[in-house]
């Protein structure tokens, strides 16, 4: 009977092409708006490393002004830490992996072949790549021994490698970074975690850094933090050593703690260090040593603002409106065909069979609407891509990269739409099946 009902559905569409087209379009518009909004929302709020959410932790301690919190309406500590605090905590062997880092700017060129350009560079310890699962196209990162004393090695982003070396395997090649020769040991593959969860303080949706150099170069070359750097009191900063010795926060720290026991141990380690420092006159605010997982880190940093949440709500409201319209159109369509339904009932179709036939028709409409909706969503996302082109910082990266299809989200949106359309069609199909056959036949 399924094949028969499908054939009847197609004939029914041919009988009322206008209403059918309206229904398909209504569903398609609702799905398209929802899918687009969900995709952008997911890109802007999703946890890009959700599979490691129970292992990766941002390390923060509250060394702020004892008389004033960092933020008046929040008990969150500063997002970054002082140099001396990160150095002490980094010395711990408890974490499986550990990263201390900060962004800086450097001038890069390849043996004079290209005019030098200024690029964002991440000064980081070796575990960055493994901890955050940055994929390599060529080569690999450096080992911990290359951090201190720092080895003149450098990792390039794929975009930077394309610019400098035409996309070729540049491992082993040398280039100049801030007038120092570095050897390329790795080129990252396309890697655009959205948002850049590990550095939310400095343009969360910017493209990843162009280059990465070992952490020790920071002190060696006295590299300043080109991102967020805050001091809660006036500090004597006559030289780089003063900067490192100050209570200014400018370094980011992350640890990988594979289980609850390790997490507890490291927390105790932090708390012990805090207690000692407090005795020495630091950390005069209440104890607020945190190990924050990525999901909570995104929430604490309010990565997705309320506007986006409201947009998602509006998108679903729009979908609901489209489905309500579809219910009305379905009722009109089925009532228009009520005389045929009456004939079928007179000829022996039960209510269940009429219901099944009409639901199949609803199903075909919902699938057609879902397919058209996906196509419209793809077009819409391309339009958003071009809309944000002006905000791009390059061919890759920037807000453009927000607008790609999230397969999981799309599948859920399609399932939702098809299910919702089915639900929307239940009432009209049930309603038509319930009326007495003679009611329709009288209209003949």
């Amino acid at each position: 009977m399924l094949g028969y009902y499908l054939r009847l559905a197609l004939k029914s569409f041919g009988r009322n092409p206008g209403i059918t087209a309206l229904m398909v379009l209504a569903i398609a518009l609702g799905i398209a708006v929802c899918v687009m909004t969900l995709t952008v929302y997911h890109a802007m709020s999703g946890n890009p490393i959700w599979w490691k959410n129970d292992r990766l932790y941002a390390v923060t301690m509250d060394n702020w002004d004892p008389n004033h919190p960092l933020m008046p309406d929040s008990d969150l500590p500063p997002h970054e830490m002082t140099y001396k605090d990160t150095q002490f905590l980094f010395a711990s062997n408890i974490p499986l992996r550990k990263v201390v880092m900060y962004p800086t700017l450097g001038v890069i060129s390849e043996a004079g072949a290209e005019p030098p350009t200024q690029v964002f560079t991440r000064v980081t310890t070796a575990d960055f790549f493994a901890m955050f699962e940055a994929p390599f196209l060529y080569g690999n990162g450096w080992s911990a021994s290359a951090d201190k004393p720092p080895q003149p090695v450098i990792v390039l982003s794929r975009a930077e490698n394309d610019k400098l070396f035409g996309g070729a395997n540049s491992v082993g090649r040398t280039l100049r970074w801030d007038d120092h020769e570095f050897r390329v040991i790795g080129v990252l593959n396309d890697w655009f975690p959205r948002p850049r969860f590990y550095d939310l303080n400095n343009a969360a949706f910017r493209e990843p850094d162009a280059t990465y150099i070992p952490y020790g170069w920071g002190s060696e070359l006295q590299l300043l933090n080109e991102g967020e750097s805050d001091c809660w009191r006036p500090e004597k900063l006559d030289n780089y050593k003063d900067y490192e010795a100050s209570d200014c926060v400018w370094q980011q720290m992350w640890v990988e703690l594979p289980d609850a026991a390790t997490r507890e141990r490291f927390q105790s380690f932090m708390d012990g260090y805090w207690a000692e420092q407090r005795k020495a006159g630091r950390f005069q605010r209440p104890k607020n040593n945190r190990l924050t997982d990525v999901a909570q880190w995104l929430r604490d940093n309010q990565v997705v603002d309320n506007d986006n949440r409201v947009l998602v709500g509006l998108a679903f409201a729009f979908l609901a409106l489209c489905l309500i319209n579809t219910v009305g159109l379905l009722l009109a369509k089925f009532l228009n065909g009520a005389s045929v339904t009456g004939i079928r009932r007179a000829l022996g179709a039960s209510r269940r069979q009429i219901f099944a036939q009409l639901l199949i028709e609803v199903g075909v409409v919902s699938v057609l609407g879902a397919l058209l909706g996906l196509a419209l969503a793809a077009l819409g996302l391309v339009a958003v891509h071009h809309l944000y082109a002006a905000a791009s910082l390059g061919e890759r990266g920037g807000y453009q990269e927000l607008t790609h299809f999230d397969v999981v989200g799309v599948v859920w949106a399609v399932i939702l739409a098809v299910a919702a359309t089915f639900a929307a069609g239940l009432y009209p199909a049930w309603r038509i099946g319930r009326l007495s056959p003679a009611t329709y036949l009288k209209s003949q």
Binding site: M1, Y4, K11, G14, R15, S339, V340, I343, R344, R345, A346, L347, G348, A349, S350, R351, R352, Q353, S436, P437, A438, L441, Q444
Partner: protein, 242 residues
């Protein structure tokens, strides 16, 4: 086969109640050809709808082949309509976007017969009504008489126990009307019980028994009286009277 006793059907609005059938009683035996006559609004179509399980009634009893129809569920009623009853309507009621073959096939689909069984029954029915060569025509491509013959084929394809015909010749000219009536008589001779609603007394005379309705009640109940010309030409045919 059909036994109605004191059946009443009332249509109610906010202001008035209308008795379409008022304490209506009728018995039809298998193989009969009964004509139901009466003026407009007398309850003929309502009777047919109740008899054909298309409408429910408010009081009384109705036994169809020994089964009390009031105890039947919607599925059972639908199944009875599908397997035991054939309908022929004044306005043919063919499904316009199905061709002749598909129209005749409709009741057979709901009986879940095999494809081969359906093809055989459809072929036989169309042969009987003389439209086997028009199987792939659309209803709009047929004359009124041909459409009604398709409707008859649809009604008999499932080999029903009885046919309910509501003014089957109402939209046809006299020639086509005669053709349709000839067909119905042929079907009746094969053993199918026929209830025919008609305005036309000439057509009513073709039946074995007449039931005359007025205001939802039987006002006259006469046995078959052959037309004088028929009686003179063919001799007495006998009458299956009430």
């Amino acid at each position: 086969m059909l036994k109605m006793h004191d059946v009443s059907k009332i249509y109610r609005t906010d202001l008035i109640e209308t008795y379409a059938l008022r304490r209506f009683s009728l018995e039809v035996t298998p193989g009969e050809f009964v004509a139901i006559t009466g003026p407009s609004g007398s309850g003929k179509t309502t009777f047919l709808n109740v008899a054909g399980l298309l409408e429910e009634f408010d009081s009384g009893s109705y036994l169809l082949e020994g089964r009390d129809v009031r105890s039947l569920s919607d599925n059972e009623r639908s199944q009875l309509r599908n397997e035991r009853i054939g309908f022929i309507f004044q306005s043919f009621n063919l499904i316009p976007d199905l061709d002749v073959y598909d129209n005749v096939e409709v009741p057979l689909r709901y009986r879940r017969l095999s494809g081969a069984d359906r093809r055989e029954r459809i072929g036989s029915a169309l042969e009987l009504v003389g439209l086997a060569s028009r199987a792939r025509h659309m209803p709009s491509q047929l004359s009124g008489g041909q459409q009604q013959r398709v409707a008859i084929a649809r009604a008999i394809a499932g080999d029903p126990a009885f046919l309910l015909a509501d003014e089957p010749t109402g939209n046809l000219d006299s020639l086509m009307s005669r053709q349709v009536l000839d067909l119905l008589e042929q079907i009746n001779e094969m053993g199918t019980t026929i209830l025919l609603v008609t305005h036309d007394p000439e057509l009513a005379r073709r039946a074995q028994r007449n039931v005359h309705l007025v205001d939802g009640q039987i006002s006259d109940f006469r046995a078959y009286e052959p037309h004088p010309a028929v009686a003179a030409g063919l001799g007495s045919t006998g009458a299956a009277g009430a």
